[in-house]
Symmetry: C2
Subunit: 334 residues, 2 copies
């Protein structure tokens, strides 16, 4: 290699989900040297160019995306270990990384990576998802890595923590003494998109120039009040009825609906926690604006005000690579 | 007119909704002589033919649909009164028939029809929708007419009745002593369609050859059990998780999801009725297969087993035409 990298790398970490791929080049202390955000989620991979002579062994979409994400990093530092989490390990992914059952010790997840050989000779190590068999079955894939990252950054990791991961599906993961003991899934984000895009509620809405905090708050409060007793299948219709009666402007309706849905979610979460016991703390992990919405909602439902912890995936991938022996802890982690 | 109709007609009644138009030619006792089902809902009206000379005053989509629904009936019996209910009276309809506030006496609805002159000289009389201002606002348009029809057929009309009208939106209308005192809306049917067609839940589903009663029952029971405590935003994800773990076949998933949604709806309805007081009876009005699903769900939530009452719109339109003086009650109603 002639082009020397300015700083030494120790790990390539990929957060590879359904709709996008984030690649991190990390230094020997777990610090992020470089980041790439590519649109190559596992449901929208690149396709090989149709022109030119067909290669003897055509590259798959996964190989092409992998090459774009980190091919040059691997050329510059041959032998650099690579770890990945998320839907890349699902049955529709590059290779299936079988679920681990909960309860599971956070430190054991890194010992169960699934290796995949790539065309360029590097080995990709895929993090397993988690499966909860008790009660209604539930699965998680990618969020377990964020939880590992969050817990590693907590001051008193190991007591009794609830980690909320808002997104298309919001996961609530209970961590007790370095063990993930269980989790819940709420499809709130995806339901919001489906209601807005594919039901009559979208017809009276228009886009707001800026987030409408008051409309969001109004939805939250209704969901948590006696007016919310009919549940989410009922209250959502008030978005339209308030609009028809001139009490909710078209551009206020999206945030009002968001408030209703998140409000019903945190009220249901409260019910679950009342039955199971309250955690000592709640931490939120994910996109900041969405986490702020949940941070407003939780205290209204009588739950503790949460700490916001950022995304967490790259920290979790580093921790899991350490546990797997892909990197060594010769320097202090950031 | 040269073509004499075999039996005399007294009324043309139109049940004109968002996605379809049902037309009834009714005899002097309120008996249905003829029925037509046309695809001309107010959101998908016919368009005038583009070829040929432009008429001096082009017919609107409403006029064209009206002509197809009952033009020949009116030619055969000039002066026949015409009444219509449903979204044809909405702001997006032919003419807006302003909402009446609840509580409202069933007998007063017929006194508040909105007349619309048509090109062929007939007057269309549109039934008003109902508006509930108390609590979260709510609206109904079309179902009020079905309720009038159902109540007219009840043995002890006038005591304390809850009329359920399953469909895209399920309406639950409380009738006490010939008065509609209030109603609730659940968007269950439309949410089902949006979840199935536009979320990840649809990806693992396949169509069933026949309704899967066991899968529907399983969804109902989970919604009403401790497993349903997380609410509908949470339990719906079990459709996928049960599938991923081999516990729910792809063709069983649609009816399982239907059971979850209807189960959560009737549990929420039970909560509302516990707060307001139980009705003495429940009657279901609508498409038979869907009503049978609700009839299974209600007793599981501790609610009375309902009576199934058919569709009701044509009976309601006849009753309202009587109340409006458009027809006279010279013969016994069917």
């Amino acid at each position: 290699m002639t082009a020397a990298m300015p700083r030494p790398a120790a790990l390539i970490a990929l957060d590879w989900g359904t709709s996008s791929l984030r690649a991190y080049r990390m230094g020997p202390g777990g610090d992020v040297l470089d980041t790439r955000h590519l649109p190559w989620g596992i449901m929208r991979l690149p396709t090989p160019p149709a022109d030119g002579p067909a290669p003897a062994m055509p590259a798959s979409g996964f190989e092409l995306a992998f090459e774009q994400a980190c091919g040059d990093w691997l050329r510059a530092s041959p032998g650099l270990p690579v770890i990945a989490c998320g839907m890349v390990g699902s049955a529709q992914g590059w290779a299936e990384a079988a679920y681990l059952d909960v309860p599971v010790d956070l430190r054991d997840i890194g010992a169960r990576l699934t290796p995949v050989d790539t065309r360029r000779g590097a080995t990709l190590h895929i993090v397993p998802g988690l499966l909860q068999r008790q009660g209604l079955p539930n699965v998680i894939r990618g969020e377990e890595t964020q939880v590992v990252g969050v817990v590693s950054g907590e001051p008193d990791a190991g007591d009794d923590l609830l980690v909320g991961l808002p997104g298309t599906h919001c996961k609530w993961v209970r961590v007790q003494g370095e063990r993930i003991v269980g989790f819940d899934t709420f499809m709130t984000g995806e339901v919001y998109g489906a209601l807005r895009g594919h039901t009559i509620l979208g017809r009276t809405m228009s886009d707001a120039a800026a987030p409408d905090d008051a409309a969001f708050q109004r939805g939250l409060e209704i969901a948590g009040s006696e007016l919310g007793r009919g549940g989410v299948l009922s209250t959502i219709f008030s978005t339209r009825a308030l609009g028809l009666t001139g009490q909710l402007a078209p551009q206020a309706q999206p945030d009002y609906l968001s408030g209703l849905l998140i409000g019903h979610e945190v009220c249901a979460l409260r019910e679950l926690l009342d039955a199971r016991g309250m955690p000592s703390r709640i931490v939120l992990c994910g996109e900041e604006d969405l986490c702020r919405r949940y941070a407003r909602a939780l205290p209204l439902a009588g739950l503790p005000a949460p700490r916001l912890a950022g995304q967490g995936a790259e920290r979790g991938l580093w921790r899991l690579a350490l546990a797997a022996g892909l990197v060594t802890d010769t320097q202090a982690a950031s």
